[in-house]
């Protein structure tokens, strides 16, 4: 709804004081759950897409794409086609493709859902670092409580169908966070327990 893909049945959504309707608001970027990297474009040209659509000058496109590639640790894969990359790398391309146009609001729909834990933790670290630089608003949907606590300032627990807000929970963990060491701390365990208790009620139905 924030992205304008679905219209709300009632009420309205404002982004930056402007009602959302039909088309995605300009300040919003979206990282999909599914892999939406264009298979016929190389890594470099995938990341350049947003800049190309905006008609950015070639030199600027080049510079920003190169920065993004360095930031995501994709050096050496600039001219690779997505089919040759792992799932984690493809999702990193998708993330950089969205971030390179510097959205103020970043929507992420289970972007790491299909990845293994190891790759996921690596991407958490990267996302946190990227966020520290720009402090965008991120709306992140996940089924992984650990992921939510690692990344979020505030967790919104939804009920099962019909999806309603069940709880708002503010995560008190200090930043910057290290996704691996964080999980060893007592505060992490305590927060996890508190939210898990509420989630558990949902699971029992």
């Amino acid at each position: 709804m924030i992205g304008g893909l679905v219209t709300p049945t009632s009420g309205r959504i404002d982004v930056d004081g402007r009602a959302v309707g039909g088309v995605p608001p300009p300040a919003v970027g979206y990282v999909f759950q599914k892999d939406t990297v264009f298979p016929w474009r190389t890594v470099r040209r995938n990341i350049a897409l947003g800049l190309e659509y905006r008609g950015a000058p070639a030199a600027e496109q080049d510079r920003r794409v190169r920065e993004a590639i360095t930031l995501a640790g994709l050096e050496g894969f600039e001219e690779a086609f997505p089919a040759t990359l792992s799932g984690g790398m493809r999702q990193r391309v998708a993330l950089m493709r969205t971030l390179v146009v510097e959205p103020e609001i970043l929507l992420m729909d289970e972007p790491f859902g299909a990845l293994d834990t190891h790759t996921k933790l690596g991407l958490h670290a990267e996302l946190l670092t990227l966020w520290e630089a720009k402090h965008q608003t991120v709306v992140f949907v996940t089924h992984d409580l650990g992921e939510a606590i690692t990344l979020a300032d505030r967790i919104v627990v939804m009920t099962r169908r019909p999806g309603r807000i069940k709880m708002l929970y503010d995560v008190g963990l200090p930043r910057p966070r290290d996704p691996i060491r964080l999980r060893e701390t007592a505060e992490y365990a305590r927060e996890y327990g508190e939210v898990w208790h509420v989630l558990g009620e949902e699971f029992r139905g």
Partner: protein, 271 residues
């Protein structure tokens, strides 16, 4: 010997055996009361030595219309029919594939025309376009158009909607979505239809040449003329030439396809 070399050797052995027995069996007289009867009658299938002889003759400048000129004419008509068919099929497929209402309006006409055996059109096309090269191009076009059209149509319809959403979030205009998402996505389907298209274009042209007479020339004309003179050797020359042309053109298309679709995993290993 490597596995590859062994396969090549076997292929050569089979070729030699085939040509040898063809040559041999058309020379051995059958033991029979009727004189002049062969194990395999060279009147119908000729024999390799005679075919080579006729080829040398047809390739020389002692004939009015050399085999080279005929082959060139056939290749020309085929390529033209192919190019025209692919480009029109692609455009129409793309337009109808992205426009549901138009697709539904035109569907019965397309199905009806496509179920018409194209050979039945040959006399009509000849009547309209005459005996020259145009009739052959039109005939090849009527076949190629539909192959490419159906593939592109399917391709344009099956574009992943999430890719379009993703482009929209990156603020692509409708034009840009067409250019960067729909066309490349549909092209993958279109390319898959190119190899059969070139073969069918060749079929269309040869059938056209059967009726076209000398003015259009072509290898199809050589075949029909050989039927008139009951000359199996000339017919074989034309058939072998058509086979070579068919293979070369199909391989050429395959090369282009592999180059343009190198992003696809199934082409990557071979590209």
């Amino acid at each position: 010997m490597t596995d590859r070399a062994r396969i090549v050797v076997w292929r050569l052995v089979i070729l030699v055996l085939l040509l040898g027995s063809w040559e041999g069996l058309t020379r051995i007289k059958a033991i029979s009361k009727t004189p002049g009867l062969y194990w395999l009658d060279p009147f119908f299938i000729s024999r390799p030595s005679a075919i080579v002889e006729r080829f040398v003759y047809l390739a020389s400048d002692r004939v009015r219309l050399s085999i080279w000129q005929m082959a060139l004419s056939t290749v020309q008509s085929t390529l033209w029919g192919f190019v025209v068919g692919v480009s029109t099929g692609f455009v129409v497929g793309l337009v109808l594939g992205r426009n549901d209402r138009l697709a539904r309006i035109f569907e019965p006409y397309i199905v009806a025309f496509n179920s018409l055996p194209r050979i039945a059109l040959v006399p009509l096309i000849t009547m309209i376009f005459g005996f020259g090269i145009v009739a052959k191009i039109v005939l090849a076009w009527t076949i190629v158009f539909f192959i490419v059209f159906f593939n592109t149509f399917q391709g344009a319809r099956s574009v992943d909607p999430d890719l379009i959403h993703a482009a929209r979030f990156l603020r692509a205009s409708e034009r840009q979505i067409m250019r960067t998402v729909i066309v490349p996505s549909a092209l993958a389907w279109t390319f898959a239809s190119l190899t059969p298209s070139i073969s069918f274009a060749l079929i269309g042209v040869v059938v056209g040449e059967f009726l076209g007479g000398e003015s259009g020339g072509g290898l199809g004309y050589l075949i029909i003329q050989s039927l008139g003179t009951l000359n199996a050797a000339d017919m074989m020359v034309a058939l072998i030439a058509l086979g070579v042309i068919g293979i070369v053109m199909a391989l050429g298309i395959k090369q282009v396809e592999m180059r343009l679709l190198r992003w696809r995993p199934e082409y990557r290993s071979r590209a």
